[in-house]
């Protein structure tokens, strides 16, 4: 290496620096213009939707007027970023509204641009575009493309298959439980949450036959999903499925079962059964959670609590002691602790 080489190196680095200075300048200008443009589109869209949903007979909003207004703020076929932003606004609005206005919105969306944009994305090689396409199709309720989407339910990309699975729920409703608990790949917590939410929003009336069929699943995520559905719909008659999973060998299945059972109050015989299952739970933290549930949902069962007080886990003992102490059994707690620390070894006074 000599001075000439270093000089050459310096020139290259300096050129890179200049390139980044230019990029920063361009980026600032672009961002400023883009922000203004997006705000304009949002305001216009908000105005259109509000006027469309609550049309003033004295000053009615017509379809050509809507199309022209959108064009004026840059919603044109060649401007893909604006189109994409409009789709985002359309979805956001549709997801906030239920009832007759929901259907009114769907009617509006069918008549204004963009047309056929989402289905084109599905054939893209990019997971990102594909998943977005699927999402747009189910959010806009374009059920004609269901077959296209169905094949992606086990896709190797988590986002593509998640969106396809949610689409299944949106289009098939409870019947989708034929497939969901048997999918090949794991389902994340968010997938489960979205599926339950979509099912609840679109199909509020439970169809238990599909639920009962799905109980056969051995997939852990399937069990968790079904428990969440039971919880969300508050299906009191189906709580056995949750209870039977309280002592499941898998930590997360138990966690979901303990979480879901807390929505329900159960009969005394069922609570007795839960108390028996309590001892079979191999994790002290989860036992503690179930203990809270038992305490909050049943009368004080002295035998049960005393058995726990003389158990092995110190944290649980403390929780049980607190329950007994606050419920009129102070002497039992004192008796237990005196036994632990007999007077002979206590340095009192």
């Amino acid at each position: 290496m000599n001075e000439a080489t270093v000089l050459f190196f310096i020139i290259i680095i300096f050129s890179i620096l200049v390139i980044y200075w230019v990029s920063i300048t361009v980026s600032i200008i672009y961002r400023r213009r883009r922000t203004a443009s997006l705000t304009q589109i949002e305001l216009t869209f908000a105005d259109i939707v509000s006027r469309y949903l609550y049309n003033d007979p004295k000053n009615p909003l017509t379809l050509p007027e809507i199309t022209q207004t959108l064009r004026d703020v840059g919603i044109k076929e060649q401007n893909k970023n604006n189109i994409q932003y409009l789709i985002r606004l359309m979805i956001r609005t549709q997801r906030t509204i239920l009832g007759s206005n929901f259907y009114k919105l769907q009617k509006l969306y069918a008549q204004i641009p963009p047309h056929g944009v989402s289905i084109k994305k599905i054939s893209s090689w990019s997971w990102y575009r594909k998943a977005r396409g699927i999402r747009e199709i189910y959010e806009m309720n374009q059920s004609q493309y269901f077959d296209e989407i169905f094949k992606y339910r086990n896709d190797k990309n988590i986002y593509v298959r998640r969106e396809a699975q949610i689409a299944l729920v949106v289009f098939l409703g409870w019947e989708s439980l034929r497939f969901l608990p048997y999918l090949k790949r794991n389902m994340t917590l968010w997938q489960q949450i979205k599926i339950v939410e979509k099912l609840y929003d679109h199909y509020p009336k439970p169809e238990l036959k599909w639920l009962h069929r799905a109980y056969k699943t051995e997939k852990l995520f399937g069990k968790k999903l079904l428990m969440r559905i039971i919880r969300k719909y508050e299906l009191h008659a189906e709580t056995d499925f949750i209870i039977n999973n309280l002592n499941h060998p898998d930590y997360e299945v138990r966690e979901t079962a303990i979480y879901c059972i807390q929505t329900f109050a159960v009969s005394t015989p069922t609570m007795d059964y839960i108390k028996r299952l309590y001892d079979e739970i191999p994790n002290a933290t989860q036992q503690g959670q179930l203990l809270n549930y038992i305490y909050e949902n049943s009368d004080i069962d002295l035998d049960f609590y005393l058995k726990q007080l003389y158990g092995t886990n110190d944290d649980l003992k403390l929780s049980v002691a607190e329950i007994l102490w606050n419920n009129g059994y102070k002497e039992k707690v004192q008796e237990f602790y005196y036994q632990q620390y007999p007077n002979a070894v206590l340095n009192v006074g």
Binding site: N2, E3, V6, L7, F9, I10, I13, F14, I16, L17, Y20, W21, S23, I24, T25, S27, I28, R31, R32, T35, R92, Y128, A131, R132, R135, I158, Y159, R162, E163, N186, T188, L189, W190, Q192, I193, K194, V196, E197, R228, R231, K232, Y259, T285, D314, D315, L318, S319, A321, E322, W325
Partner: protein
């Protein structure tokens, strides 16, 4: 001078070995930084793409999402504690609790809290303490329904780590966030931080961090940052650049390869279960955040449970940086001691196959380039002086090479600033960007030597066993605009 030194035994070899060692070290660092840029770019892009499918507004309306407790320790924060707690209470998350731990403050912090939030003492007889801490005196909850999410723990002083552990003991949520009470957390920070946990697939998320920004001289109203300004002084201004570079390039790059060993103590989220399993923060080190993250990773490796530590590129937490060089040096001295202690505590990781990539790659990186960099730099300065005295240095060439190295540093900072302003809209004014760039370009002449001094001071204290704790970090306080 060269002639007189020529006779010195082995001088030729010493010179060239030193030169090649420094060049090798520098080249390795350069390669790592370059790889870091590519990895960080990919990571930021992916995070942004993924966030389209799980927006904060989706999370805010969801049920079944994990519950979260923010644990904030406070020691003698009486002057600002009410504003700070109100700010932390305003974080938007449906299943959210705030635990403020008064770590034996000697001022009137507790009384102020009792008065403002109408706190009522709770029975603390049966508190479970899975992690041992200094004794808890009382637990307080508010009588006012609008503050149902607030719990105050009053305990004897045991240090920051001990106070956080007391908060973890008392929390009963799935996830816990650790922060400093004077940090300003973005309103939707938790909604964003839980994303990785919601999307957890085959690997358990054991830690999640978010970007931390510097808010000196910014305007705060109702506990939120209403106007982000650049600090007026050079020391904090340089820290803005340093944080952008560290969080956006460094942490995001390591996150991409699941090699993160540090989640900043100012803002990090963990599953409570795992924190308790490892016994919480270690109160015996001043680098407790780094130490916890490494211990958690080790724990998962030993259990053979697949795991991930992730970082989000967004700035989710704003803090006040040291405003003058004295405080800065004290801070870096503490960080250096924390690093020394942690590196030493976990030396069994070094090239230990049992710990996989952590033992073979990440720990050696930390040892060589995070722990070793100040030492190498310090030795470099000594060699430069010695070789200069001996006349072994070709000065024109050395100056050119230094200038090239300086420019490379400028490029890295510029790229980080570019990536930041492209991704986020915190700094949008041309004047701000120019100031940031200038601060970055001045850094090697003013700011960096201070850092080196602080770090070496920390190492010196460790070598000669000079006892030094957290030290006092005097803060000026944010500009508070009254509504």
């Amino acid at each position: 001078m060269w002639d007189s030194a020529e006779g010195f035994f082995g001088s030729y070899y010493i010179y060239w070995i030193s030169v090649y060692l420094f060049i090798g070290y520098g080249a390795s660092l350069l390669t790592l930084y370059l790889s870091g840029i590519f990895l960080a770019r990919r990571s930021i892009k992916r995070t942004k793409q993924r966030s389209i499918f799980l927006r904060a507004e989706d999370v805010v309306s969801a049920t079944d999402i994990p519950s979260v407790t923010v644990v904030a320790p406070a020691y003698n924060e009486g002057l600002t504690i009410i504003e700070n707690v109100k700010s932390l209470l305003s974080i938007q998350y449906p299943y959210y609790e705030l635990i403020l731990v008064n770590d034996g403050s000697k001022d009137d912090s507790l009384q102020r809290l009792i008065d403002e939030f109408d706190l009522k003492r709770q029975d603390a007889t049966f508190i479970t303490q899975p992690i041992p801490t200094a004794s808890v005196k009382h637990i307080y909850k508010s009588r006012k329904k609008k503050y149902t999410h607030l719990t105050v723990i009053d305990k004897n002083n045991g240090g920051k780590a001990d106070a956080i552990n007391a908060g973890v003991n008392f929390a009963n949520t799935e996830l816990v966030i650790f922060t400093d009470v004077d940090c300003i957390i973005e309103q939707d920070a938790i909604l964003k931080m839980v994303r990785p946990y919601l999307e957890e697939d085959d690997k358990e998320i054991i830690g999640c961090g978010g970007g931390i920004g510097i808010a000196n001289d910014s305007v705060i109203k109702n506990g939120i940052l209403t106007e982000l300004k650049l600090p007026s002084r050079l020391v904090p201004m340089n820290q803005v650049v340093e944080y952008i570079r560290a969080f956006l390039l460094g942490r995001m790059a390591w996150s991409e390869v699941n090699g993160l060993m540090l989640i900043s103590g100012a803002f990090g989220m963990y599953p409570r279960k795992r924190v308790i399993e490892v016994g919480g923060f270690n109160p015996k080190t001043v680098g407790e955040d780094l130490e916890l993250c490494i211990r958690l990773r080790k724990h998962m490796e030993e259990q053979k449970i697949p795991y991930k530590v992730v970082y989000l590129p967004e700035t989710l937490c704003w803090t006040e940086a040291p405003s003058d060089y004295n405080i800065l040096i004290r801070q870096r001295d503490r960080w250096a001691r924390g690093l020394w202690e942690t590196i030493s505590l976990h030396r069994d990781l070094l090239f230990n196959r049992k710990y996989g990539k952590m033992g073979m790659l990440y720990y050696p990186y930390w040892l060589l380039f995070e722990f070793g960099a100040p030492i190498v730099e310090f030795l470099g300065v000594i060699c430069l002086i010695a070789f200069g005295i001996f006349g072994w240095i070709n000065w024109p060439f050395a100056i050119l090479l230094s200038f090239a190295a300086y420019l490379v540093g400028c490029v890295f900072s510029t790229i980080a600033i570019f990536m930041y302003i492209k991704s986020f809209d915190h700094y949008t004014k041309p004047k701000q960007i120019i100031e940031l760039l200038l601060a970055a370009y001045l850094e090697p002449f003013y700011y960096h030597p201070l850092l080196l001094y602080g770090q070496m001071l920390g190492y010196y204290k460790k070598i000669f066993d000079i006892t030094s704790g957290w030290g006092t970090m005097t803060r000026k306080g944010f500009k508070v605009s009254k509504s």
